[in-house]
Symmetry: C2
Subunit: 496 residues, 2 copies
Amino acid sequence: MQEPQALLFPASSRLVAEASRQRPSFDRTVRQLLLLSLMAIGAVNAEPLRLLGPADLEQAVRLREQALQSDLAFELVESLVTEVGPRSAGSAGDASAVAWAVAKLKALGFPEVRAEAVPLRAWQRGDAHAHLTAPFPQPVVMTALGNSVATPKEGINAEIAYYSDLAALKADSSDRASGKIVYIDQKTERSRTGSGYGKAVAARTEGPSEAAKRGALAFALRSIGTDHDRLAHTGATSYQEGIRAIPAVAVSNPDADLIARLSLQPRYQGRPVKMHLSLASEGGIAATSHNVIAEIPGSSAPEEVVMIGAHLDSWDLGQGAIDDGAGVAIVTAAAKLVLDSGLKPRRTLRVVLFANEENGFDGTKSYAAKYRNQRHHFVGESDFGAGLVWRFQSRVRAEALPVVAQIAAQLAPLGIAAGDNQANPGPDAGYLMRLHGWPALELSQDGSDYFDWHHTANDTLDKIDPLKLRQNVAAWAVMVWLAGQSPVAFGSMDLK
Amino acid sequence: MQEPQALLFPASSRLVAEASRQRPSFDRTVRQLLLLSLMAIGAVNAEPLRLLGPADLEQAVRLREQALQSDLAFELVESLVTEVGPRSAGSAGDASAVAWAVAKLKALGFPEVRAEAVPLRAWQRGDAHAHLTAPFPQPVVMTALGNSVATPKEGINAEIAYYSDLAALKADSSDRASGKIVYIDQKTERSRTGSGYGKAVAARTEGPSEAAKRGALAFALRSIGTDHDRLAHTGATSYQEGIRAIPAVAVSNPDADLIARLSLQPRYQGRPVKMHLSLASEGGIAATSHNVIAEIPGSSAPEEVVMIGAHLDSWDLGQGAIDDGAGVAIVTAAAKLVLDSGLKPRRTLRVVLFANEENGFDGTKSYAAKYRNQRHHFVGESDFGAGLVWRFQSRVRAEALPVVAQIAAQLAPLGIAAGDNQANPGPDAGYLMRLHGWPALELSQDGSDYFDWHHTANDTLDKIDPLKLRQNVAAWAVMVWLAGQSPVAFGSMDLK
């Protein structure tokens, strides 16, 4: 999972306008949601009420109970991290992951499995070293941000220009940063929703160019993470066109504490903090990855697609267990439960394991272009680790809200609360939702500890609790089944 | 802190024999301890009862209260890790640490401060890389054990011979390990006392030679640590004389989990696990470090010494915050409180910051030789991180137990329980206690999380809670003051 801020739905879009016609006073309890949504429909629509029938609801209960007894998802992510491990887009690991996914989905018995080529430009990390040279020699644990250019071979040795956050850098019209290494010290707040990451991440994406505009030689920031581990958090950065690209790194939080002490404590004032930084990297490498797709064809409306996704690639530093092996495993296991139920879903159920979510969204863009004219009943994605699902949200037209309430009622026994109709379904699915106006469903996971490990070497299997994974699969199976059986379309008929 | 098992008191020693004459039924409450110790004395000794007087006890209360209001200890460790950082014996950081300590102790106003040269043979870590080459290519996070020899330049690529623990290796009389990398997978149990480390650490110290005896090319083990971080735990190993020295590394726990899955899961049986390992290192480097000593001369018995210590060196991977910057700070701050009280202690109070505890005990050995004929009233050490003190223990002659009970009573308000008379006062002090039969006092810290960070890059300042450090200093100040004022000698008159 990359950019929560990228999930924000543009206020101008058609779906938001549609949602705004609904009554604003949705309550979070399922019963009230149902009642209110019925009232909403009565107010805007003369259609007779259409709801899911008892057979579908009973099937949801069976799927839920089966999921809570199954460790298939854990076995899948365990297999992926053990047999493939790190798999950044375009790498040998990425190719292994595609082969793994195709073989695994076929072995699970999905009737249609395919890999769709995604051309991309890969970025490859090289060796990186940093240490303070003044006022005291100290090693510095850091890692290059994704897409960072390399330093000259001999490295860069320069004074640190300290800024508390990106706003402070942007507000600086002096020449203080010129010839220095710009350093941003913003801390990431812990939260269930990942909002702290959303607040901090702009420093990573915009910081290098803001620094370069001010004449900086390089850019560094406090890792965007909630941990206190001596491991730096990578993640994509980007360079503004026309601005010089400068090397960009993230420093581990304990090392960031050291730089903060030296920069801020009165006893060290007047003693410049200097850092030597050398890093190798290579970008723009022509490569091909693949979106891996499995389908269960729909029985009565095969032309309508329920798309549930995750991303197959990972950053190179960890094993890609929580980001996003867990998501791959959750949506695959949920679809497998539907497959094994023997009942044919009305609409086509499609699992998409996207290529290169982390560093360019190439898989999503490719999917968006290829399937732009296919009617998507809804899109969903699991890409926020392996924490418990605590909330269910939708972004559908008002007529579908009674069905959404029925789904919420079946999720409630899993400890999942009903949210609103402003779902942000994940980075890839959110991209598709925004681009094409496709409806979306969201199962919000507890991400309280996600940013302790996200984009670090610590993204390993031991961070996943198999029991929490069962709850996720149960939620996905219930949601996918019931939403896919909905007698009401989730999107407007005139959606592109 | 290095070797809990090294703290075990030989059953044959004089002090144990002496302690065994005491009543065995010590209760843990202070009142009962006092009563029972009085009975014990009555049984073995006709001397009149001698106890600490009210002035000394009142002074202890004042010291305790002052310590609980002071952040001096945190400021000291913060200064050490910020201005020096890693300081393995013989390194430039070690020399900086000695200079830092001398300057700091002088600035604190101790009337006598000196650095005593300690010649030693240093070991220096070099670059190290490892990855699995079969059955799946995977990076492996590991680090060389202290004293490890290097691999050939091209590295070693060999099959892993998996053993669940050291006992399994020792029991193997087959040729299974020959030509392979012996791998020991023993996990470290979490405990307050560090007993889990004590059980696991023999694999680190004895493993390489046990492997070499069986023809192994190299040795690796699961990190001796209770964490799930992608950081390996170093620590000294040693080679038996006459046995070939082979490269020896510790693998991070998540990587150890990976190796365990590949070695143990039925689906991977018949597929050898192979690892490529390359590491550089250099041992036997002639160097000089120093024990740094500060003293407050005794008023009425200056020839008797109260020795409280910690070690100034640290492993190279972290900042040496919990191991043992915290101990340096705690004993120094406690002595400073005594110094500032204006009251002259009866006996000489000596703070010793030992050289090279981690990889050879050179500082302790040097101290032991230099001061072997000086009468030590007791020795103590702080070298178990920055957790709260939960227990007070002694190893003194029976006649001193009523005074020990008085001290325990003054420690009780800090949440500290009375233990027994079998104290193990820390690695350096324990060495001196065993060698010379010197009496000892121990303040046992809660080490539940100590082995999450011990000997890793994660040994950084953020792992220290300043409030817990205050409690430690309070305990040390109370203990040092009262024990130093004791009207009763803690050791036998005829101790060497």
